[in-house]
């Protein structure tokens, strides 16, 4: 079963950055792909914190650093 905390956080990030639904699905794929390639977050199971997810969203959308 999916972890609702992680799903909720990625949904909140998607809304914050104004992603449409298709982009939100791709963002989920992107952060999972990052984890599998060893770019893991500092949370349990290598999950990303909210701040780390925000940085990932900027990276994914090509927005550069804040």
């Amino acid at each position: 079963m999916g972890h609702k905390r992680d799903i909720t956080q990625s949904q909140a990030i998607a809304e914050e950055f104004g992603m449409d639904v298709e982009t939100r699905f791709e963002f989920g794929d992107y952060i999972e792909e990052c984890k599998r390639q060893g770019d893991r977050g500092s949370g349990k199971r290598g999950d990303f914190t909210y701040a780390e997810l925000r940085a990932k969203a900027r990276e994914f959308l090509g927005l550069g650093d804040e």
Binding site: M1, G2, H3, K4, I7, F25, E26, E32, K35
Partner: protein
């Protein structure tokens, strides 16, 4: 009486409406299964239909299905038509099945074709799930496989610095379609069928007519919207 369901239409949430939900789900019937993928947060997604490339260039070479069924945080159960096994997450309490239950890794779940690739959807039936009262989903495939999605109560995530105070809407499950629409279901009995892409400028269906030669007239203040 014959009728047509417009798969590019929009259905705004308006309370329980089993028959309309079932009608929208019928677009899955006949679609071939492609593969299963586990996304961020261990969310299971089933990819069906025609393989498509991702839109974002950072996901180049990452194919997805034209239909994508995402279980979000719901419990699910997959009865394989290929092997005599049931794969599940959250439906059965493993503490009561310690002799039968073997944990499965994400890699094994994605690598093992528990549903035969190419098997077609024979039925996609919503049902009222207990204890949430929301809609679950049963999908049956031509190879004998079946997938059950059973909504679970919403948990509020632990507070974390920087996280927004408002908890976003998390559906019990979603279906992304190739018609620029997605079906979201739950929590509870609410559901909708809405645009999955940001609105693009409308494309004129007829070429614009050439403008007549400008007639000499007195200028008006405020432009065309000033009335």
């Amino acid at each position: 009486m014959a009728g047509v369901i417009d798969l590019q239409g929009v259905h705004k949430p308006a309370g329980p409406d089993y028959d309309s939900l079932r009608s929208y789900l019928s677009q899955l019937i006949g679609e071939p299964f492609l593969f299963a993928r586990v996304g961020y947060g261990d969310e299971l997604t089933l990819h069906l239909g025609t393989p498509r490339d991702a839109r974002n260039p950072k996901l180049r070479n990452r194919v997805r299905g034209s239909y994508l069924l995402a279980v979000r945080g719901s419990a699910w159960q997959l009865k394989s038509g290929v092997a005599p096994v049931i794969v599940e997450a959250g439906v059965i309490d493993p503490l009561h099945l310690s002799q039968l239950y073997r944990p499965i890794s994400t890699e094994e779940l994605e690598r093992t074709p528990f549903i035969q690739p190419g098997a077609r959807v024979l039925a996609a039936e919503p049902f009222v799930a207990r204890p949430t009262g929301g809609y679950g989903l049963l999908v049956a495939f031509s190879d004998g496989s079946a997938v059950l999605i059973n909504p679970t109560p919403l948990e509020h995530p632990a507070d974390e610095p920087g996280a927004p105070e408002k908890v976003p809407h998390i559906s019990d499950w979603e279906l992304l379609t190739p018609h620029a629409r997605y079906l979201w279901v739950g929590p509870g009995s609410a559901w909708g069928y809405e645009p999955s892409r940001q609105a693009e400028p409308p494309v004129p269906t007829n070429p614009p007519k050439p403008s007549p030669p400008a007639a000499k007239k007195r200028p008006r203040k405020g432009g065309p919207s000033s009335g």
